[in-house]
Amino acid sequence: MIQNTVRSETWLWLAQRTSAVVLAVCIAVHLTTMIIAMQGGVSTAEIAGRISGNPMWLVFYGIFLMAVAIHAPIGMRTVLLESTSLSAKRVGLLTMLLGLFVFVLGVRTILGLYQMVPAS
């Protein structure tokens, strides 16, 4: 049991650091795109025009979302374990729910934008 905890803690740590590297790249691409797109204001039609039906953006935001859904809950788990008296089990459950919530919301957003018909 103790061995398993050591191993799982180590894998969680590695998953969080690896997802951080992915996030660094994704956030840079996302922000650069946003800054370019924001020139002259941004609209739903403009976003949909760029993203909908474009598999490259679908894959990009899919990877971005997975990195967020892995990175944020593990970080929240550490913060909660260090700063509250909640049990490890409860914190694990809470943050797993957070991860799922973020993932479902993200999938809905990405698929919604991908399938949106741009206004002509």
């Binding site: 061995q3 050591v6 180590t10 740590w13 590695l14 550490t78 260090e82």
Partner: protein, 239 residues
């Protein structure tokens, strides 16, 4: 010439104690340990504190001086005094026995938990291991070997304060010197010991230990080394 007096506030009692302020004459080249010794010998014989060598070798006289953990024998009053006042408390994160004396049991038990003892791979009948002073591993071990076990890094570490089971900088610095000791055979077990939630992966790299270490060691770097080795072991399925 008027004598300059120092206002020295010293913690008295256990965790529920309070500060008592003493007046001590300022002298040239006076250390914080000199102040405490003066108080104990001439003003308050009941004051408890620890010291042994007085020259920065034994690591027994660490206290919190004006809010910072320090070795008191080599902390000159001139470097720490603020407006003629000095506040001396026991080290943080360790239970107070009495006055300036803390119970170091947890601190040293964690060295054992981090597998901080040498695991020999040879017997006295074998050839003496030849380790070149310029060897990379030898140099990494050298960087951390001069720890005097004073507990200053442990008291300065925020993670120790948040997580009472966290092994702390000194124990992991020790483990790292052994990880780099080519004569040692206990690394698989040692990496398992330092890998868990109470080990190296919980270090926030805030470097309070580096900032305060009187020997100018870098436990944060040692812990970063342990993180790398731990991850390598995990990827190889050795954890």
């Amino acid at each position: 010439m008027t004598e300059e007096m120092l206002q020295v506030s010293v913690w008295k009692g256990d965790a529920k104690g309070a500060f008592v302020t003493y007046e001590v004459r300022r002298q040239e080249n006076q250390t914080v340990l000199d102040l405490v010794t003066h108080i104990q010998r001439h003003i308050d014989p009941g004051l408890s504190y620890r010291f042994a060598c007085r020259v920065g070798v034994c690591g027994s006289c660490a206290m919190t001086v004006n809010g910072k953990a320090r070795w008191t024998c080599r902390s000159h009053v001139s470097n720490v005094v603020e407006d003629g006042r000095i506040e001396i408390r026991p080290l943080e994160s360790l239970p107070i026995v009495k006055d300036l004396v803390v119970d170091m049991t947890d601190f040293f038990d964690k060295w054992a938990k981090a597998k901080g003892s040498f695991e020999p791979t040879c017997s006295r009948n074998d050839e003496i291991a030849a380790v070149s002073p310029s060897d990379k591993k030898r140099r990494l071990a050298d960087a951390g070997i001069e720890c005097i076990g004073c507990g200053v890094c442990y008291a300065a570490c925020d993670v120790v304060r948040w997580k009472p089971d966290y092994l702390g900088p000194a124990a992991m610095n020790r483990a790292w010197t052994l990880v780099n000791d080519v004569r040692d055979g206990g690394n698989d077990e040692r990496l398992r010991a330092v890998a868990g939630d109470d080990g190296c992966l919980s270090c926030h790299s805030q470097q309070g230990c580096v900032e305060r270490c009187p020997q100018k060691l870098n436990p944060t770097m040692a812990i970063a080394g342990l993180k790398r080795e731990t991850i390598k072991a995990a990827l190889k399925g050795k954890l």
